[in-house]
Structure formats: C-alpha cells, structure tokens
C-alpha cells in the first residue's frame, strides 16, 4: 500500500464517519426551530417537550460531531502537509472562519439551549435554538467554501514561493460552485433530519405509545421531507450537475459511465462499468436522457472518457460511478416515498397507514447513505486532482509521514470509531425508547429499563 493511498483512506474514513453527525444536526437544527416556533406561537407545552427531546438527540450528535470533527482540521496538517503549505493562505481562511464565526456561536447557544431553559425567558430560549441552527449552517457554508475552492479554484494568485494567495475574499466566499454545492448539500442535510424525525414518529405510532408525539414528528418530518426531497433533485441537484458537466467533464463521464463521446447520450440506470473493455456490462439505459438532462436537448453531444487523457481519468472510476448511482437512485426513492406520505398526511390517513409508517421507519438509514455517496461522488470525481487542474493528489500528502505510520493511526481511528459507533447507537436508542416526557393527558407508561 502506498503512502498516498493510506493518506487518502485516512481522510476518507475519518471524514465519512464525521459527516454522519453534522448532516443530522444541520437538518435537525432547522426542524427544532420549527418546533420551538410553534411552541412559542401557540404556547403549547407539548411542542416545547418535543423540542427538548430533539434537543437531546441534537446534543449527542453535536458532541460526536465535535469530537470527530477536531481530527478533520488536524489532518490537513498531519496527513496533507504539502497541500496545506501551498493552500493555507486560501483554504485556511474559510477553515479558520468556521471556527471563529460558527463554532463559538453554536457551542455557546447550544449550552444555553440544552442547559439554560430554566434560566432563560421563552423568547430567549427560542432565540438560542435559532442561533444553534444558524451556527450549524454557517459551519456548513465554510466547509463547502473550502471544498468548492478545491473543486473549482477561483480568485487566487500564486506567490513566488509556490503558495496560493486569495485575490478576492468575496469571490472566494461566493464561488458559484460553492453556492450550488451548498444549496444541494444543505437540502441533503434537511432530508436526513426529516427522515429521522419521520422515522421516530412512525416508530411511536407503530409501537402504539407516545402517539401525540408520533403525530407531531410525522407532521413536521413529512412536511420537511417532501419539500427537501423535491428540492434535492430540482433545482439544486440539477443545477449542480450541469455545473459539474461544464467544468469537470471527466467527473461527469465517470459518474455516468460514459466511455464514448456521444450525441444523444443515454443515461445508464443500472450496469457495471468495465474499464478493460470501455463498456457498461448488463446495462439498462434510457436513450438520450443524459444529453437532455445536461443540455436540455436530446441530440446534444456529451463528452465521454475517450476525449480525456488517460492520466486525467478519475482514479477510482467504478466507485465514482456507483457512488453517483446510489445517490441518484436513493434520491428518487426519497421523493416518491415523501410525496406518497405527504398525500396520506393531507388525506389524514398517514397515522394509520401501516405500510407507509413501516416504509418511513425502515428508510431512515438511506439519507445517510445518499449523503455519503453524494460526497464520494464529488470528491472521487475531483480525482486525480487535489486542487482541480492545479495540484495532483500525489503531490499533496505528507511525505514525511510513512505509509506505516499512516496505517498505524488509521487502524487506531477505525478501532476508536467502531467503539464510538456502538456507544452512539446505544445512547440514541435509549433516548428514542424513553421518548419525550409524556403528556399529562396521555396515560401511558414509559418503559422502565
């Protein structure tokens, strides 16, 4: 195993595990604001309790996000030193801004939100929830700005010592690539939040306890779910895809498994790309669909991998292709399920439609998979570049850190995170099974463990 591969796996593993937590906190942050706003407007204590319950889930996720997030910032220096040395002046900026503008805000108000309800007025407590939400979304923004510059470098100059320097601060922050990616990514986080809330609601109704809360969670979760799972496809996914096609033709060709340049390119629904033969095995293809999706006309020419020099092909082509297809396939399922659930909710049939409740319950892991696959699509599509068109991945890792030392700490992280995963599952399971504080009117017994 080469040092380059170890360092890539190191970052990929730790970031993938890390992003399981923020995607929920960012989505849930918004939904908690909804719960608190209803509570504030109606004065209904039940919505406050619902918010408190999700606040506890948020808090656990936040802590796991923080402890797995600290390694991410460090790894730029530890595992990607040569990259950090030349790019620090540019992407060190949004990374530092994340700390300064978001983490202080988020942690301060989360402390108030979770521990300070008795010490704050109702309005101030609502405001804390809003600030936690704002903080988590600012945090996401700066991370996307960082990634967007690596995907689509803008507003930079190169100093004589090889370092990149920012030419325009605002162009860096408002990189069009970043704005599209941000819209798509944050919608993805809301999809996760909405599915998790819906699944817990469905769980309570299927179990036949805490039904009042189950209904609240379904109302909020399915409403947010139907909006976000449509927005994730159109316009955010659509626009982002078109932008990728324009600036990273190699990535689009790899994602779609398009080996040959075609007019009227088809879209492969299922099939396995074969790098040896340059064909898709066992293909199921929708004719002309790819040309239409990218250019709005069925006859447009889409650049295939044959027009791209072999040394600029995405390095993990099949994985890129599968990641993209998993994301897109699951995205379709989200929209279908949420539209059906929203329809049932509107017809007041959702609470008793057991098949829909089961589908919602069982679907909760899928947005995590889709968000992960989406990020893999973005980052594998960028390969073999670390900074697109400017610096190759092979030029960026720390060459003072040997493959053996890298493997040592990668294995360490794997062990530690396996333990973390188990602990997290236990904690969340206990929170969900004990549920929000029962409403006085409801004469149900909460399971005593």
């Amino acid at each position: 195993m080469t040092a380059e591969l170890i360092h890539r796996l190191h970052f990929a593993f730790t970031i993938t595990f890390h992003y399981l937590f923020p995607q929920l906190t960012m989505g849930l942050g918004l939904l908690i604001v909804v719960l608190k706003s209803v509570a504030l407007r109606t004065g209904n204590e039940q919505w406050d309790r619902a918010a408190r319950f999700w606040g506890r889930i948020f808090g656990i996720n936040f802590v796991f996000g923080v402890v797995t997030g600290i390694p991410m910032e460090f790894e730029f220096g530890t595992n990607w030193a040569r990259f950090s040395q030349v790019s620090g002046g540019v992407i060190g900026q949004p990374l530092a801004m994340e700390g300064v503008f978001s983490f202080f805000l988020e942690s301060a108000f989360l402390g108030l939100f979770l521990y300070g309800e008795k010490r704050l007025s109702r309005l101030m407590h609502w405001f804390s929830a809003v600030m936690v939400f704002v903080g988590s979304w600012i945090s996401g923004f700066f991370i996307i700005v960082t990634d967007a510059w690596m995907q689509h470098p803008v507003a930079y100059d190169r100093l004589p010592n090889g370092q990149f320097e920012v030419l325009s601060f605002w162009q860096l922050l408002l990189n069009p690539w970043g704005l599209l990616q941000y819209a798509h990514n944050m919608t993805g986080a809301v999809v996760t939040g909405a599915f998790v809330m819906s699944a817990v609601g469905a769980f309570y109704l299927l179990e036949g306890r805490l039904k009042d809360y189950g209904r609240i969670f379904l109302n909020v979760g399915v409403t947010a779910g139907v909006i976000s799972s449509i927005l994730i496809i159109f316009p955010t996914g659509d626009l982002h895809g078109k932008y990728v096609a324009r600036y990273q033709p190699a990535a689009i060709a790899g994602m779609e498994g398009l080996f040959k340049t075609e007019e009227g390119a088809g879209m492969v629904l299922i099939g396995q790309p074969n790098e040896e033969t340059g064909l898709i095995d066992n293909p199921i293809v929708v004719n002309d669909a790819l040309s239409f999706l990218i250019y709005g006309t069925t006859r447009a020419e889409v650049k295939g991998l044959d027009q791209i020099p072999r040394d600029q092909w995405p390095t993990a082509l099949p994985l890129l292709y599968y990641a993209y297809h998993i994301m897109a396939g699951l995205g379709t399922w989200f929209a279908l399920l949420m539209i059906a659930s929203a329809f049932l909710l509107w017809r007041k049939q959702l609470y008793t439609a057991r098949w829909a409740l089961w589908a919602l319950l069982l679907s909760f892991p899928l947005p995590y998979i889709a968000n992960t696959a989406g990020w893999m699509t973005a980052e594998l599509g960028r390969q073999p570049w670390l900074i697109y068109g400017l610096m190759r991945t092979s030029e960026g890792y720390s060459n003072t850190v040997s493959a053996s030392n890298g493997l040592f700490t990668l294995l360490g992280f794997m062990g530690l995170y396996a333990l973390l995963g188990i602990l997290f599952t236990v904690l969340i399971y206990r929170e969900i099974s004990s549920g929000p504080e029962p409403v006085a009117a409801e004469t149900q017994v909460v399971h005593a463990d």
Binding site: I70, N79, L95, M97, L105, S107, L159
Partner: protein, 346 residues
C-alpha cells in the same frame, strides 16, 4: 503584519489553555476529589455547559495558525504526527466519556468511565505541556522545513530528540500541575459545601509543586535553549513577564488563603498567560527552532502567508473574535454562580 499575527495566534493559544485548561484540570480532579455520586455530578455539571465551547478555541486557534503560517502548520502537524494523533484520540475519548456520563444511568460502567475521563484529561495536559516544550527545544528540521519525530529516542534533548525527553517531560508535568490547580480553583468557585472546601485545601500542595516545577522549567529552558533569553536582554522591560509569573503565583496563594476564589482563579489565568507569553517572547521571531542549525529555523518571515490574505484576514478575524468573546461573556454570565443540579435541593 507578521508581528500582529504571531501574537494573535498566541492569544488564541492562551484563550484555549485558560478556558479548556480548567476543564482538563477538573477532569483530573474528578479522579481525586469527590466522595459521592452527588459530588461527581456537581463536578461534571460545573463544566457541562461550557467545555465544548472551550474546546472550540483549539479549533479556531488551529485554523488561524493554518492560514496565517501555512508552512509552520504543515511542518509541525506532520512532524508531530504521532503525538497529535494520540491527542486527538484522547480528546475523542474524553468528550465521549463526559457525554455518556451526562446522558445515561451507567451502573457498573460508571467507575470505568470516570477513570477514563480523569486519565484522558491528565494525559492531555501532559501532552500539551510536552508539545510546548518540544517547540521551545526545537526539532530536527530538514532543509525543506519538514521533520518527523518518534515518540522517544534516548530521552535527551539533542540534535535528534524524541517527543519525550527529560526536558519535555518537565514541560508536561508543569502543565499537569498548573491545570489541575486551575481546575481546583474553578471548583472552589463553582462547587459548594464540603466539595468546595476539599478543592480549596488541595490548592496548597498543588501550589507548592507548581512553584518548584515552574522554577525547574525556567532553569531547564535556559539550559536547553540559551537563545530564548536573547529578546529579554535586548528589551529588558520585558523581564516584566517572568516577574508576572512570580507575582501571579504569589497572588494565587494569598487569595486562596483569603478565601477569594474568583480572584484566585483569575490570577491562575494570569499565571498561564504569563507563562505562555513568556515562552512566545523567548521564541520570537522564530516559530519553530531547528536542532539541526539555526539556518533551518522556521521563522516568521519564512512561514507567513501572502500580504493580501493577512490583510483581509485581519478584518474578519477582529470582527469574528469580538463576537466570540461576546458569546463567551454572555454564556458565562448566564451560568454564573454555583452549579445547580437537577433534583438537588434549592
């Protein structure tokens, strides 16, 4: 510009040490002080609302270092690879122990988690102290500005030292004792009754140990890196820093005896500030000295980012940190006073 950013990064480090320092110290004391479950919970509740905010200083400081001095960030982080990864694991472990402790009734696991929490806190203080000592001592920089240090070699500071040698171990012990003392003073403010009294009585032996270790570390630094006195002799007025170290130590003793816990705690903050500022001033304008020859030192000029980056950075940094300080003040004022436990009599 380089001068400004050097001290801004130093401010972030001081902010981290002063704030997360008492969390870590409280973690160490969690092993020693409490006699009942109620007291354990009081100790944890005293840092519950603030510890992750305090840890943010580490992230924000790291980010600031990253964009202001990319070469230093790249070189030091990859060179100190192994100890940094261990620090990360300890931070993860500590955060998770704390979180588990807050959320569920643990039964037989409680004792284990308490030990892990205390142990990881103690090891973190030692690693942070040793890290600072490593920077003061210097590392075997290659001509390209990079290096890689093993955890230990022959335990002597020389041209090819390890992370741990007799000098950096002293640094680690200073940090362990200083932050434990810092945590004890925090508890004298936040805890009540017998617990606060026990914390107050623990201050004296910790203080005595800290005085001895502080003097030992100052002497050892002069032996290991005589050049660190250069700035002081060039600008004799700056000897006020070591004087400040001694004065704040004396004040901690007096104020703790005079039962003025808040003031004693603030003097402990001052002590940490003077120790760190003194170390930074001993280095300036070197950021990371080389044991392999002064011409290989990573200096401020060599590591600094481009001028435009830094100018823009100054604007948002000042704005953002003003906001951050406002949040910190707001949160601490909301949680001021003794800890109140849910379910405890009030």
């Amino acid at each position: 510009m380089g001068f400004i950013w050097f001290w801004l990064v130093a401010v972030m480090i001081v902010g981290y040490v002063v704030l997360d320092g008492f969390d870590l110290g409280v973690g160490v004391l969690h092993l020693l002080l409490p006699r009942s479950e109620q007291e354990r919970r009081s100790i944890l509740a005293s840092i519950g609302p603030v510890w992750d905010g305090n840890e943010v200083w580490l992230l924000a400081g790291g980010g600031t270092l990253y964009f202001a001095f990319p070469l230093l960030y790249a070189s030091a982080f990859s060179g100190f690879y192994l100890p940094l990864m261990i620090v990360l694991w300890l931070l993860v472990l500590r955060g998770v122990c704390l979180e588990l402790r807050n959320h569920i009734e643990l039964g037989m696991w409680k004792g284990l988690l308490d030990s892990l929490f205390g142990l990881s806190s103690a090891l973190l203080t030692i690693f942070f102290g040793a890290a600072l000592a490593n920077v003061l001592r210097g590392v075997p920089l290659q001509a390209d500005g990079y290096f890689f240090l093993p955890l230990w070699t022959n335990w002597k500071p020389g041209i090819h030292p390890g992370i741990l040698d007799w000098y950096t171990v002293i640094g680690g012990l200073v940090a362990l004792v200083a932050l434990t003392l810092h945590g004890a003073l925090w508890l004298t403010i936040k805890a009540s009754g017998a617990l606060a009294e026990r914390a107050r009585r623990l201050v004296s032996p910790l203080w005595a140990a800290l005085v001895a270790l502080t003097l030992a570390s100052l002497a050892a630094t002069i032996v290991v890196r005589p050049a660190s006195l250069g700035n002081y002799f060039q600008y004799p007025l700056t000897f006020i820093v070591p004087v400040g170290v001694v004065a704040s130590l004396a004040a901690i003793w007096l104020l703790n005896r005079g039962a003025q816990p808040l003031k004693a705690f603030l003097c402990s903050c001052l002590y940490l500030f003077f120790m760190l500022a003194g170390a930074c001033w001993g280095l300036y304008p070197t950021l990371l000295p080389a044991t392999t020859g002064a011409d290989r030192d990573i200096t401020l000029l060599r590591a600094i980012s481009g001028p435009h980056t830094l100018a823009v950075g100054l604007v948002w940094w000042a704005f953002g940190m003003a906001l951050a300080v406002a949040y910190v003040v707001f949160v601490y004022s909301k949680f001021r006073g003794k800890v109140d436990l849910p379910g405890s009599a009030h």
